[in-house]
């Protein structure tokens, strides 16, 4: 934020659509304090009943992976088929598994 920037700071908004569901990123907004960020998120992102709970997080607090991380971070998981249930063979006669 530069010294003459008067637009507050950037926040990221996460919404829970229904109780029990995960919080999902739905957009960003500007606010000057936590209470305002929460209120603005409500006024901006739940006008059509899209949410039942809100998280707001200052954008600067988010740490994200880089595009160059794509290979080393995520490709190693591609061949770990043994982490998926379909890897294992269970006799057809066995139920509820």
């Amino acid at each position: 934020m530069s010294n003459n920037d008067t637009q507050g700071t950037l926040w990221e908004v996460f919404l829970q659509r229904k109780p029990g569901q995960p919080f999902v990123h739905c957009g960003s907004l500007h606010a000057f304090d936590k209470e305002m960020a929460l209120q603005n998120a409500r006024d901006l992102y739940t006008r059509r009943g899209e949410g039942t709970a809100i998280w707001v997080v200052p954008s600067t607090a988010i740490v994200s992976s880089s595009p160059e991380d794509l290979g080393p971070f995520f490709e190693p998981a591609n061949d770990k088929v043994y982490r998926h249930p379909t890897f294992y063979q269970i006799p057809d006669a066995v139920k509820h598994m």
């Binding site: 934020m1 530069s2 003459n4 920037d5 008067t6 637009q7 507050g8 700071t9 950037l10 957009g27 960003s28 907004l29 500007h30 000057f32 304090d33 936590k34 305002m36 901006l44 006008r47 059509r48 200052p58 600067t60 607090a61 994200s64 880089s66 595009p67």
Partner: protein
């Protein structure tokens, strides 16, 4: 890097904020997204102009909700522009100092209540064609903003058409009001799609980068094709003597908009350019002490987040 970027576009994959991108792609996006955002914000003014005079409570509520949605859309787009490394303050400053452009349609006045219906039916109708296309734009945050916007916009055009229906099937005064508004808004709406393809060099590059997916003329033609029957249903006359169905092309032929007028409005000499900008500058300036108070209060509460 350039090859990696081109390959990504080729595969119709989205470009994300941290991805490498050509400088010109970034610049083009910042310009286009912020212009788009400004258009939403300036677009609040001609319609907001009628909120306090809306002739029924239902119409007043609907109009407020619609103008508010436009503000929300401007906001989604400003935050999309911010992912490209430009701040809200910077893009607003560009608007307020006249450096940034916005859609020229909002430099026309809303003279009667019928203009509100016409803006919804024609202007939003034209905007939606552009926005539906932009849902598939190549820049991720822009695309996601457009998906959300399109979902919310879907009621705007219907609301406009419903309002025009009340007028077209109402008293003779109401119908005359609707025809007058159609006469004034038809040509400016056709010009919303921008210059013809042969005069739109930026547009070709934007299509190459998959920022835009269809050309100005394609979108304009589609708009005319779908709007003619809607006007016929209302018993209103589209003010174009050259408008007629072309069996061979399976499309309507139509006249040429007044591109001199378009150039004049874009250059800042439309009927309301000065008023629109002045209204935004006034709101910004009069809001300055409010923002300063909020900043100071957060500082005292020790709530200011340090910027990275």
């Amino acid at each position: 890097m350039e090859e990696w970027f081109d390959a990504k576009l080729q595969k119709n994959e989205m470009i994300e904020p941290k991805d490498w991108m050509p400088d010109n792609y970034r610049k083009h996006l910042i310009r286009q997204i912020s212009q788009h955002a400004h258009s939403e914000i300036i677009g609040m003014l001609p319609e907001g102009n009628w909120i306090t005079r809306a002739p029924s409570l239902r119409a007043k509520i609907v109009l407020m909700a619609k103008v508010q949605d436009e503000g929300g859309h401007g906001l989604y787009l400003y935050t999309a522009a911010e992912t490209l490394g430009t701040s809200r303050e910077e893009v607003l400053d560009a608007l307020h100092t006249g450096k940034a452009k916005y859609s020229s349609i909002f430099n026309y006045p809303t003279l009667t209540w019928a203009d509100i219906g016409m803006v919804g039916w024609l202007v939003d109708g034209a905007a939606i064609m552009n926005q539906v296309m932009l849902q598939r734009t190549s820049y991720g945050p822009y695309s996601r903003a457009m998906v959300r916007i399109c979902k919310e916009e879907s009621f705007h055009q219907r609301q406009g058409y419903e309002s025009v229906c009340h007028l077209a099937f109402g008293t003779p005064e109401q119908k005359a009001m609707a025809q007058d508004a159609l006469n004034r808004w038809w040509w400016p709406t056709l010009m919303m799609f921008g210059p013809t393809d042969d005069k739109s060099p930026n547009s070709a590059q934007a299509i190459k980068w998959k920022i835009k997916r269809e050309s100005n003329d394609q979108l304009r033609q589609r708009f005319v094709n779908q709007t003619v029957s809607q006007a016929e249903y209302l018993g209103l006359t589209i003010p174009d003597p050259d408008l007629k169905w072309n069996e061979e092309r399976q499309a309507y032929d139509f006249g040429t908009p007044n591109w001199d007028e378009f150039a004049a409005v874009v250059a800042g000499n439309g009927p309301c350019n000065k008023e629109r900008l002045a209204a935004r500058v006034k709101a910004h300036n009069e809001g300055e002490w409010v923002r300063a108070a909020a900043t100071a209060y957060a500082l005292k509460k020790n709530e200011v987040m340090s910027a990275a």
